[in-house]
């Protein structure tokens, strides 16, 4: 029984879990924690997306887990290999906050909302429904996603824990 085994997802990282394992990522600010779940095969996936689009990448080896437009296809691929079906996947997401408020709103400053928009666009490309989200605001979140239930637990300093 590997119930309650934590699978850590780092920043700009993605991973999958099955058999009751729990995916966890900590300290989401403007980053988005996106989860996918196939209820039938109990395959869960999580990506900690940092930036909206790989178009702006200037790195020589692309870290595909970092960008919304590349992380989601990769996560789906990995989940399919583990037995999930794209047509059965349902998405949830949390994060995309704006940690600090400024009067001059340059594009870098509103990276959180852009990450959220970009994740939604990538999901709709694969016709994956977004069934719940807890995004925006100005606070950080830590999330845990159970591959047994598909429940996403969101913890924040101000609001404690909640489930979606």
């Amino acid at each position: 029984m590997n119930q309650d085994i934590m699978v850590k997802v780092g920043m700009a990282d993605l991973n999958i879990a099955l058999g009751g394992q729990v995916l966890k990522t900590t300290g989401l600010g403007s980053c988005v924690g996106l989860t996918l779940f196939d209820e039938k095969s109990k395959v869960a996936g999580m990506a900690h997306v940092m930036l909206p689009s790989s178009d702006i990448a200037r790195e020589s080896t692309l870290n595909i887990a970092k960008y919304a437009d590349t992380a989601i296809p990769e996560l789906i691929e990995r989940m399919k290999k583990a037995g999930a079906l794209t047509g059965r996947l349902k998405a949830k997401m949390a994060g995309g906050a704006q940690m600090f408020a400024f009067s001059s709103q340059s594009d870098t400053m509103r990276i959180g909302p852009r990450n959220v928009e970009s994740c939604k666009a990538a999901l709709s490309k694969f016709s994956i429904p977004l069934i719940a989200e807890d995004t925006g605001g100005n606070f950080g979140r830590t999330i845990e996603f159970s591959s047994a239930t598909g429940i996403l637990v969101i913890r924040s300093v101000q609001f404690g824990a909640k489930e979606i």
Binding site: G10, M11, A12, T26, G27, L28, G29, S30, C31, M50, L51, I56, A57, R58, E59, S60, T61, N63, K66, A97, M99, F100, A101, F102, S103, S104, T108, I111, N138, F139, G140, R141, T142, S156, V157
Partner: protein, 207 residues
């Protein structure tokens, strides 16, 4: 990953360390004046830190910290964070304003504003000493305060590095008041493009 900054020679890192030393030294003096107590600081560390490990410097991604954030504007833009933990903040408020913190959670508007002002004074002295030293114009924006998980707060300063790799160059300094009652951190994360400007302003050859 070939982050261009990973190739910085030891000599250049030393220059940046000195930059951090001067800035944080002035900030520590300012803090010492504010608290009317001696404040010590560690030698700054300058390193290319993987994103995952940035928050470990202040106790991990989930550690709740009080963060004063300022965007540095001017010739060499960047991000600046002043981070303290909650007990340190309470002691600081007590020392400085004789505000006795009552509630377990949350801060009053007055306390918030005082913390923001402390951050403003410290960051201002850090930056103005840097500007004097480099002859570059560097000014802070109005400070913004957040009480939240260190990982969430600091990731804000890493976005520009995200485009070119999975690590960021940061200059961090830890300082302590006398009997380690108050402990805080300064993080200066210059934008990737700012390094050449800092180096050439200091007469360090850049290719």
């Amino acid at each position: 990953m070939t982050n261009p900054l990973s190739k910085l020679e030891a000599f250049k890192l030393d220059v940046l360390k000195e930059v951090g030393n001067i800035g944080a030294g002035h900030a520590a003096t300012a803090l010492s004046l504010l608290l009317d107590k001696p404040v010590d600081m560690n030698v700054p560390t300058v390193s290319l830190v993987p994103f995952e490990e940035v928050a470990d410097k202040v106790g991990g991604a989930e550690q709740v910290v009080i963060a004063v954030y300022l965007r540095v504007e001017g010739d060499a833009p960047g991000h600046m964070f002043f981070l303290i933990q909650e007990d340190s903040a309470r002691k600081m408020l007590h020392n400085l304003l004789a505000i006795e913190h009552r509630e377990e959670i949350g801060y009053t508007e007055m306390e918030f504003s005082a913390l923001s002002e402390i951050g403003n004074i410290l960051a201002g002295s850090y930056l103005s000493s840097l500007a004097d030293f480099t002859q570059l114009s560097m000014g802070p924006t109005v400070p913004s305060v957040a009480i939240d998980m260190a990982g969430a707060v600091l990731s804000y300063g890493l976005m520009l590095y995200g485009e070119m790799g999975d690590s960021a160059l940061l200059i961090d300094t830890k300082f302590l008041e006398g009997h380690e009652e108050v402990e805080g951190f300064f993080f200066l994360i210059p934008d990737p493009e700012s390094f050449d400007k800092i180096f050439s302003a200091l007469g360090v050859p850049t290719e």
